[in-house]
Amino acid sequence: MTTINREATGPENLQKLHDDLSEVWGNPKGLKALTIVNHTTLGLRFMVTGMAFFLIGGILAMLIRTQIATPDQNFMTPEIYSQVTTMHGTVMMFLFAIPILEGLAIYMIPKMIGARDLVCPRLTALGYWCYLFGGIILCFSMVLEMAPDSGWFMYTPLSSNEYSPGLGSDFWLLGITFVEISALSAGVELVVSILRTRTQGMALHKMPLFAWYILAMALMIVVGFPPLILGSILLELERAVGMPFFDIAGGGDPVLWQHLFWLFGHPEVYIIFLPAAGIVSTLIPVFAGRPIVGYGWVVFAITVMGFISFGLWVHHMFTVGIPQLAQAFFSAASMLVAIPTGIQVFVWLATLWLGKPKMKLPMLWIIGFLVIFVCGGLTGVMLALVPFDWQVHDTHFVVAHMHYVLVGGMLFPLMAGIYYWLPLFSGRMPSETIGKWGFWLVFIGFNATFLIMHWTGLLGMPRRVYTYNTGFGWDIFNLLSSIGGFVMSAGFAMVLIDITLHFRYGKPAKTNPWNADTLEWANKLPPTPYNFVSLPPIETRHPLWEHPELPQEMQEGRHGLATASHGRRELWGTDPLTGKVREIIHVPSNSWWPLFAAMALAVVCISLLLRWYPVAGAGVMVAIGFLLRWSWENGAHPKAAPDAKVMPGDPPLHSRTMDGPGLWAMTTAMIANGSFFLSYLFGWFYLWTVSPEWRMPDASPLSLVALVVAGVALLGGSALMESSVRRLRKQLDSGLAMRLYGAALLGGLQFVLILWVMWNANLVVTETSHDAILMVGLYYALLHSALGTVISLLQGMRVGYRYVGAHAPFEPVVVTYFWRYNVVVFWILIAALAVLPRVIGG
């Protein structure tokens, strides 16, 4: 192996090096612990919070099973039962499954790819606080007995004002949107971290499989969550303001909600499954004692799943009345997804077959996963058949299938992963005896609950009914399912006891206790906040198997970036394909801004719930203020990297180059933004072509001339930004501030013109969905215009402070990307909203 960095320190300086790293990367204690942005701490916080929500969701599940254990029960009223079922699904899907897997990814990815942190640590912190506050707000609705009660997918019109007049739906819509900020934050930074911060030499095809799975999951979050965010915004606008997006009489369509929800909802199943499958693909080779069979085939399968899962959403809507041919498309696509799943299952079996599997505790959970998930997959293929789906739609069969896929496909691998990485979290080993008791109770209890639930479904029992009469033949099956549910709960209690006790009584773990091959086991157990003293060159998929001495070498600082006396938190910035080092990425340190911004957003969320709009407006302004202040402490700012000096032979700091993680983060964020925009366009065209009472005015209310002038102003601003970047590439920064101010001025002109168009359109947004959806599109353009203007203005100011210039040219490049996006979407918006209606008519 070769390293581009020198041996940074000798044995006599090793302690000094550790001290330096601890000072730069260390976590504060007391109240200041709230400022921590380190991925290890935040990953653990995500997971612990996720487990807390899992317990809440589990208690709700037991309440459900108690209620329907026997016929004619009145343990709960119908109203409370509806709230409990809705919250069980919501908590498990949004507050447990996704966040805990994100937490695991946040914790694990930097350690696996040989980095010291994620690339946007403050974003990790913001994501965590948004998740925590959103989850608390949502769960608080249960305390008030005001929880949402329309089912976890919130179908309209059941969730609309007419049938859900209380605050329940609002809690769901606002709380979930708040939590989704967290998911998107994690999605963006995981993508960028995996692509740009792998240690030197770790080419894409040498990356650990877990990183491939997380890359796919993160990209799916980036593309898959925005449709639901749009849907939630539209439904909340309908409920709060009366904009009739889903109301037939106003020209809306309730089926639009189903499309937007399932455009998110089906990929979400795979967003949950992929990281879990990543755990399986990581653990099986370790316990089989050999490399995975068919690394390339696994990459193939991950890629196929990532895409095909977006083409299945209508299979949740087979009963709403769409043409048979369209149903056939989605039925066929649904069957296709069995191919990549099957490939992975055979890869895992082949690896076990060719290796010498050791049946340690984590492997028990993996075997449980294989059995349960394959059964769930098979019932999934059954449900892909349209006539069968019609028969069992909305019955317990679907509920049973969903639990086989999600509990089998996510929870069992997660438990395997938790047991496997427990020594990393705590430095101690779990108890095999208590752990095995826990596993068998969960496995038996789970199958007793949900295998039997297939039969109650086939016997016709609908989901979400709060009670039933005796005589349908459902009594004994429901009772057995309920008993199974309580057995499963006892199993989870055992697991929880085991994990809790192990922190005190577990045997201390030796180095690399499972003889694993991946880099996370090169950490100290438990890890230091900086993970590695030095970052090694990695040119193999199994670094610890091929170089068992590597952890020692890394601890002795014999590899790259073994210095911290400059006071910066540094990672390698590497080429996404080859893993060659391009630059040194410096990441920000602990900060209050993420917490403050999340608190301001929580105020916005609560104010919107209570309809205190002035307070909500003030909250938005405060949150923007915090976020802008946060962005100010960047690049050459004294709190970031005022001194660009690096060790001789090292590449430059990223803020002194024209490329860097911020550029990739902006691109990934714009993919999410683009997904939101395309969902909006889908909504516009869907209502236009499908909604039965759609009313298009004879003449478009939008002034085409004003919009075109606004578009030209935007183009002018963008051109100024582009020319600024071109000149910076040539190391020219004379007149840079004026160009940036000029772009801001043109952005401001666009903003004013859009406002003028909105004002003059006289849209009656509560009367027709046409006017309402036009208004949403104009607000979208207005928001982007404002943002482009403000960030260009700030860039101009930063030139004045010498934070930006030829010596630090990075930030204008990032801002220019945003302007490019603005130009593209604004002109598409003009074409879709103002030109097409004039050409085609209503």
Binding site: A203, L204, H205, G296, V299, F300, T303, V304, G306, F307, I308, F310, G311, V314, P323, Q324, L325, A326, A328, F329, F330, A332, A333, M335, L336, I339, L577, T578, T689, V690
Partner: protein, 118 residues
């Protein structure tokens, strides 16, 4: 420009997503096209599957499948000529194009037998 040409090369991992992106575009075009056509110019149900909508959808599907099959063949050729990272990229891309081709054929198969707007 050079960077763009490199990205188009069949050994670039961008092709991991190339085939399935084409599949997705085709899928949206076929589903969206069917929905709009049925809303705007629904054919007489008595015509069965032999309608202008089905013929158009089939043609679009055939062109897409041929394009994907061609890209799969190209990737296999590239995979033979390289080792290491580039071989890996071209080989995985080739199978992803094969899958995308078959996925177009499989999902499009009902167009032959089902009337479009019933």
């Amino acid at each position: 420009m050079n960077a763009m040409v490199q990205r188009l090369h069949l050994t670039h991992p961008g092709h991991f997503v190339g085939g399935l992106t084409l599949w997705s575009i085709w899928f949206i075009a076929v589903y969206g096209g069917l929905s709009v056509a049925c809303a705007v110019v629904p054919p007489d149900p008595a015509q069965g599957a032999l309608t202008h909508i089905n013929i158009t959808l089939l043609l679009v599907s055939l062109i897409t499948a041929l394009l994907l099959a061609g890209l799969a063949w190209g990737c296999f050729q590239e995979a033979k000529q390289h080792k290491g990272r580039q071989h890996f990229n071209a080989f995985v891309s080739a199978w992803l194009y094969v899958f995308s081709t078959l996925a177009v054929a499989f999902v499009a198969a009902p167009i032959i037998g089902l009337p479009p707007c019933l």
